[in-house]
Every structure is written in structure tokens, then in C-alpha cells.
């Protein structure tokens, strides 16, 4: 089975955001595999262990993304592809077109990605890529079973569970709860250094910057207004709870 994982590198979720001149500062920031994509990597490796085949991890992004691709290779993926050509960077429209060109070039039976990235939070990648490829998608999977060409997915739908059936080829997006991602082993980390990692650009993919030009633009990026320090209530607990209810009713007017 040809398994493709779509991965994005993101800031660690414990990082604070600093903005300089409308740009998010990357100074001293720890980067990680987007947590939802990490579930996708784990699921892909599990599928390979069960059914055989090959796992290729693909990403669009700057040079630094190599470290996250190497982590995925250390977990057990076989190959990686990084599109680090800045002329192919844009919005969600752009990225889906580029990823589709990569997927078509390397071939796939199943594609797995996170249900969203914790930085942009848009969640467009999976459904857009599936449509670009003309294949079906099932999002927010918490359980995945492949039997021949039959694919059975349990998906989280705003807290409810939906059981669906479809067939290969398909794109799946991973929701928290799908699995428990493994840590790379030391031999895995050593092996990952020698695993193939291809860097592709517009020419390799038969794309031009014009053909994938973004449909939207970032005008500005800002931090939310700082919250004023709140009030810690005092007195015995009964007095505090009674005061809190009055404050919520009369001052904050939310009850």
C-alpha cells in the first residue's frame, strides 16, 4: 500500500506569540510536528506494519521543516518530500495545488493528514487536497480500519461518533484520540538520517507561481488586547460564592 502523510511544522503549543512589524517572530521558538499530523504519521506507520507498503511524508514549507520530516522518518516513515520553493508558497488554495502535484507525482492509495494545523487553524488542507485529486475524504477520524480496498472510519462529529464506510483511494484527516504517537527510537533516529528526503520546486512539479497564485492575502497580524487583571474574591467560601453570583448577574451581566 502506498501511504502518503501530509505534514506541517508548527510552533510548540506552549510557545507565546510575538509579532514584529505584522510578522510572527520565529526567534528562539521551538518547532514540532503539528500535533494532528503526528497522529497521521503514527496511523500511517501502523497501516504499513499491518498491510505492508511504504510511507512517504510530504510537506510544503521552508528549510527548517526538514527537522520535522526527519522526526517522522525516525518514527518509521520511509521517505520524505519537501517543497521548499518560495514561489509556491501562498494561501490554502496554493498549498492544496502544490500538495496535489506532489501526491500525483509519487502516487498514493491512502493519504492521511491532521484535521487542522494548530497555527493557522483553518482545516482546509485535507478536503481541498482530496478535491484537487478527485478522491473522497473522511475527516476527524478517531478510528481507521483498512480491509482490502474497504475503509471503515469512526469519526468525531462535534462530540458525536459517526461510523462510515468508503473505499480506497481516500484521504483521511486525523482527530485527537486516533492513536498514541510513538517516540522515535535511538536506532530510528540514526536510520532517519540516511532515509531519502527529496526537495522539489516548481519545475519538478510542472507548476508555475502564476498557476497557484493565492486567492487571499494577509493584511495584518495582531495580538489580542491584554486582559486587565481580575478580582480575587475574599471572605469565607459561602460569602465568596454568593458575591460571585451577584457580580456575574449585576456587574458582568452574563447570567
Amino acid at each position: 500500500m502506498k501511504i502518503v502523510v501530509v505534514l506541517k511544522q508548527t510552533f510548540d503549543t506552549e510557545e507565546k506569540i510575538v509579532i514584529q512589524n505584522g510578522q510572527i517572530s520565529e526567534d528562539g521558538v521551538e518547532v514540532i510536528i503539528n500535533p494532528y499530523d503526528e497522529y497521521a504519521v503514527e496511523e500511517a506507520i501502523k497501516l504499513k506494519e499491518e498491510h505492508g507498503g511504504e510511507v512517504t511524508v510530504i510537506s510544503v514549507g521552508p528549510d527548517r521543516v526538514e527537522s520535522s520530516l526527519r522526526t517522522a522518518l525516525a518514527m518509521g516513515a520511509d521517505k520524505a518530500v519537501l517543497v521548499d520553493d518560495e514561489s509556491l508558497f501562498g494561501d490554502e488554495y496554493t498549498t492544496a495545488k502544490v500538495l496535489a502535484a506532489v501526491a500525483n507525482k509519487i502516487g498514493y492509495d491512502i493519504i492521511i493528514g491532521g484535521q487542522m494545523a494548530v497555527d493557522s487553524g483553518a482545516g482546509q488542507g485535507g478536503p481541498r487536497l482530496a478535491e484537487e485529486l478527485g478522491i473522497n475524504h473522511v475527516s476527524t477520524a478517531v478510528k481507521l480500519e483498512v480491509d482490502g480496498t474497504t475503509v471503515r472510519v469512526e469519526r468525531d462529529v462535534e462530540g458525536d461518533l459517526e461510523v462510515v464506510e468508503t473505499s480506497l483511494p481516500v484521504l483521511i484527516t486525523a482527530q485527537q484520540g486516533l492513536n498514541e504517537p510513538r517516540y522515535p527510537s535511538l536506532p530510528g533516529i540514526m536510520k532517519a538520517k540516511k532515509k531519502p528526503l527529496d526537495r522539489l520546486g516548481a519545475d519538478d512539479l510542472g507548476l508555475t507561481a502564476e498557476a497557484v497564485q493565492a486567492k487571499t492575502q494577509i493584511v495584518d497580524q495582531t495580538l489580542p488586547p491584554k486582559k486587565q487583571a481580575g478580582r480575587i474574591l475574599s471572605g469565607d467560601l459561602a460569602a465568596q460564592t454568593s458575591e460571585l453570583v451577584q457580580l456575574l448577574r449585576n456587574e458582568a451581566k452574563v447570567i
Partner: protein
């Protein structure tokens, strides 16, 4: 003046609040132009009056068997046909399980841009959306093609309904075929519970609840307030509750009127998911817990002592 199409959603026979919020967003985008709404499902026409009162002049209804249960194929085909039929300048959906799934697919099919999870609209139009789960905000605009957005529930105020307005109801015959997903079963885990993303009040527990049973006082308070119950990653990782309850940068982002954090220390990744709530109450034994820095009101104390007292107080004033 623009023509705006809103795809509305009906759940358990009710129009979702976010659909009325989408109509309010459409009013801004239309600049005095026309608003048309789409409704899928068996009793679609029964919602036409409410949609009209919130600004829709035409309501397209599609009573198709394939649209009773959401699948990406059926909904994408239906929405594409609706767009072709209405030929709008802008399209608005709620950023719900359905909206966030079908909108990108349709945007890709039609070659459109899409700005997801919009929390407010500015002149231009410029669309404001949270990034890093609300640690920062991004202003986006369209440079090519139609305007296409999904809006986050609970952020754009619903307009005042105008009872004198009526809409033309247009039943549409959609062609839906070659479906590749079969829905075998739906397990309702949330029936009778308030949806986290749309809840006006959220009560949320962290490691301080100590066990699955420890959530009971939270549920007791939630019942009195008609609130939804959420959790921090700590509580989910410790197996006190289901991951579907997780609030944070991984998990759900919520923006209720009132957020009550119980036994939650306030890790950055959790704060990202809730700090845009209008009013925040923190209950924690540790006076140094970072949650107090974002709280409007704080009580330093054991949640197992505080919550029963608080529930009793609310019962007094709300009954």
C-alpha cells in the same frame, strides 16, 4: 451592492444559531444587496419565515434523501449547484462540522479562495480570524474571485428579526450521484447536552477534578446554568473524560459569555482555547495558578467545596 448566499444548517429540527449569525455577516457583506439562503432537509421550507426575518429574500430548499445525513460528496455537489443557481458574489457558512468540511472542498472544486473560522468583519471587506487558537489574530482579504467564508459560532451578533419580512421559497431539484461514503451508524454521545462550540456558558475541569466522578459537581452546576462541560488537556490525558471535551490549542476553541475554569492551572495551550470568552471565572486551590491572570473573577479554594455552594447560590437566584 452584493448578492450573498448563506448555506444554513438545521440540527434536531432547529436552525442553528450560527446560521442566523451567518445571515448577520451576510447583511454586512451585501451592503444593501440581496441575501439568499439555502436549507437542506425534509422540513426545509418550515424555516423560511425565520430566515426571511433575518434578511433572506429567497430561500432555496432541497429535500433530497442524500442530504438527510451529511457526506462530503452529497453536500459538495449540492452546494456547488446552489452556487451555480444563485450566482452570488459572496458565500457564507458556519464553521461547524459540516461547514468546515464542505466549504474547502467546494472552494477547491470551483477554484475559489476561502477564509475559514472568521470571528469578525471589517471594512474592505477584511476578515478577522484567530491564529494559534487565539494567541494572535490575522486580517485577511480576497485578491481574486468570490468571497467565501466560514464564521465561528458565537462571535458575530445575530441581527434583530424583522417580522414584516417574507421570502420567496424556491424548491430546487438537485442532482446528487456517485456517493463514495456510506454512513453506517451515528452514535449520539451529546444528546441532551449543550454543544460546546455554541454554548453561552462553559464549565470546564482540569487535573484538579482528580477522576471521572470528579466531574459530577461540574455537571450539577451545568444543569442549573444550561451550560456545556469541557476539560483541559490534563484532564483528558489523565482519562477523566473524553477527548471531545478538550478545550485548547489542540481541541476546541470556545468563546462563551461565561467560562468557569475549575481546577485548571492555565497552561498556555489551554488559555489559547478559552481566553476570548467574555467573562472568565477561575476556581483553583493554588493562588499562583496562571489561570487567575486571565480571570475576571477568582476564587481560591477547593472546587469540591466551592462548586456545591455555587450551584446552590445560582439555584436561589435563577429559580
Amino acid at each position: 451592492m452584493k448578492k450573498v448566499l448563506v448555506l444554513t444548517e438545521v440540527r434536531d429540527g432547529q436552525l442553528r444559531n450560527v446560521s442566523l449569525e451567518a445571515l448577520a455577516a451576510a447583511q454586512v457583506l451585501a451592503e444593501g444587496g440581496e441575501i439568499v439562503a439555502g436549507v437542506f432537509g425534509a422540513d426545509a421550507a418550515s424555516h423560511a419565515q425565520v430566515l426571511a426575518q433575518h434578511g433572506a429574500s429567497t430561500v432555496y430548499t432541497a429535500d433530497h434523501q442524500a442530504l438527510v445525513q451529511y457526506t462530503p460528496d452529497a453536500y459538495a455537489q449540492a452546494l456547488v449547484q446552489l452556487i451555480e443557481l444563485a450566482s452570488p458574489d459572496a458565500i457564507v457558512l458556519g464553521h461547524t462540522a459540516i461547514g468546515r468540511d464542505v466549504a474547502p472542498r467546494v472552494a477547491a472544486k470551483l477554484g475559489y479562495g476561502l477564509v475559514s473560522d472568521v470571528t469578525s468583519l471589517e471594512a474592505g471587506p477584511v476578515f478577522v480570524r484567530p491564529i494559534y487558537a487565539g494567541k494572535a489574530f490575522q486580517q485577511r482579504k480576497f485578491v481574486d474571485g468570490k468571497i467565501f467564508i466560514t464564521i465561528r459560532p458565537n462571535n458575530i451578533a445575530i441581527g434583530t428579526p424583522d417580522a414584516s419580512k417574507t421570502a420567496v421559497v424556491v424548491p430546487v431539484d438537485l442532482e446528487i450521484k456517485d456517493l463514495r461514503t456510506i454512513v453506517k451508524e451515528v452514535v449520539r454521545k451529546t444528546s441532551g447536552k449543550v454543544d460546546l462550540s455554541e454554548a453561552k456558558v462553559v464549565i470546564s475541569g482540569g487535573r484538579g477534578v482528580k477522576s471521572a466522578e470528579g466531574f459530577q459537581p461540574l455537571y450539577d452546576l451545568a444543569e442549573v446554568l444550561g451550560a456545556a462541560v469541557g476539560a483541559s488537556r490534563g484532564a483528558c490525558d489523565a482519562d477523566y473524560c473524553d477527548y471531545s471535551m478538550q478545550i485548547g490549542q489542540t481541541g476546541k476553541v470556545v468563546t462563551p459569555d461565561l467560562y468557569i475554569a475549575c481546577g485548571i492551572s492555565g497552561a498556555i495551550q489551554h488559555l489559547a482555547g478559552m481566553s476570548s470568552s467574555k467573562v472568565i471565572v477561575a476556581i483553583n486551590k493554588d493562588p499562583e495558578a496562571p489561570i487567575f491572570q486571565v480571570a475576571d473573577y477568582g476564587i481560591v479554594g477547593d472546587l469540591f467545596e466551592v462548586l456545591p455552594l455555587l450551584t446552590a447560590e445560582f439555584k436561589k437566584v435563577l429559580v
